[in-house]
């Protein structure tokens, strides 16, 4: 049960974003740009960063939600699972391996990021903007994961819930739905 009363039909982050819409607005704008804006990293690659950080923060809701979106964007369900198990042996580019390792360091602490890890990313072709966005996506999910779990929001156990959420986010992105969320009641 959440630590404060939240809309019962909106588990996880959505109820918090509806509870406090003025703080939700810049968080939504930032997320929409980082995960869906014009970028040399594919949307699926950026969702892998979000998923890995949520996984290491042990945030069940965010991990399940972003796994679902990553799977939809990648068109298969294997890569995301393998990335969560072991970045080194996952079927992704050397550049993505290097960026995901930086993201995992950011999950621990900003100071945990080593110049060596940055060099490996640059040598495998990562641009400064890709490194910047990787660090900021990882940092943003350190916010989301703490917000979601720090308020003890509900994480549904039914996998169908996350498939529906993933589909909604794939179609609409991270901005607030123009007509709100009342259609999700009942």
């Amino acid at each position: 049960m959440p630590h404060i009363p939240l809309p019962g039909h909106l588990p996880g982050i959505t109820g918090l974003l509806e509870y406090s819409k003025d703080t939700a607005h810049p968080i939504r704008v930032l997320t929409q740009f980082l995960l869906r804006g014009k970028n040399s990293l594919a949307e699926g690659e950026r969702e892998l960063i979000a998923t890995v950080v949520s996984h290491y923060n042990e945030c069940k809701f965010c991990t399940a939600a972003h796994t679902a979106i990553a799977d939809l964007l990648l068109g298969e369900t294997e890569t995301c699972e393998l990335v969560k198990k072991d970045i080194d042996t996952a079927p992704i580019s050397e550049k993505m391996k290097a960026l995901l390792k930086i993201a995992v360091m950011v999950q621990v602490s900003g100071q945990a990021v080593t110049p060596e890890a940055i060099n490996v990313a640059k040598q495998s072709g990562a641009t400064d903007i890709e490194i910047h966005d990787t660090v900021l996506i990882a940092a943003l999910f350190c916010l989301y994961n703490r917000y979601v779990d720090g308020m003890a929001t509900v994480a549904p156990t039914d996998p169908q819930f996350y498939l529906g959420l993933g589909q909604r986010l794939k179609e609409n992105g991270y901005n607030r739905l123009p007509n709100g969320y009342d259609h999700l009641k009942n």
Binding site: I4, D22, H132, A138, C142, N145, R146, G150, A152, R176
Partner: protein, 184 residues
């Protein structure tokens, strides 16, 4: 030197990063403005203390000292009291409610999963309202983002408190938004 090439290396901390990526600077600045200076049952001074305390726990010198300086500006305290934040608030007068909220913020800094029902009950017992608990958790979570952003990209930070005096006053009284942000 930062891990990436910034257009103006003389700008410290997050300021250099804002300059590098205006698209993310806009919402980040609006988030800081809303969290620290927007509507809240907590005063801006209390909220800046939470931000400075979490940044200290994350060992982020730039965020810690700049937000501590903003807190001192709001509270009309001397910059020498900044060190009291690191010492667990022995000199700065804080209410039992703020102390309970700072305890929750310290849990959030470790992990969201650390926050227990007892921590929330203890804050409510000394008068914390739902919105105050919400704002505390979100400020603490947001500074776990800002701190990682600033240190994860290896930005530089001035060492001495004095270098943060004007910055803190600007943060406290002028605010955080320098770019216009489109509405969604």
């Amino acid at each position: 030197m930062a891990h990436i090439t910034l257009p103006d290396e003389s700008l410290p901390g997050i300021v250099g990063l804002f300059n590098f990526r205006p698209e993310t600077a806009e919402p980040l600045q609006l988030l800081a403005e809303t969290l620290l200076r927007g509507d809240s049952p907590l005063t801006s001074g209390e909220r800046e203390l939470i931000a400075a305390y979490v940044s200290h726990l994350n060992n982020c010198h730039f965020c810690h000292t700049s937000h501590a300086s903003a807190a001192m500006a709001h509270l009309n305290c001397d910059l020498s009291l900044i060190d009291d934040i690191k010492n667990g608030f022995q000199q700065i007068e804080i209410s039992p409610k703020l102390r309970a909220l700072l305890h929750i913020a310290a849990k959030v800094q470790k992990s969201g999963r650390e926050v227990q029902a007892e921590d929330i009950a203890a804050a409510k017992a000394v008068g914390a309202a739902d919105k105050e608990i919400h704002d505390t958790v979100l400020i603490a979570a947001a500074f776990c983002m800002f701190n990682r952003y600033v240190d994860g990209l290896g930005t530089w930070a001035p060492k001495e408190h004095e270098a943060y005096r004007e910055m803190g006053q600007r943060m406290a009284f002028t605010g955080y938004v320098r770019f216009s942000v489109p509405q969604d």
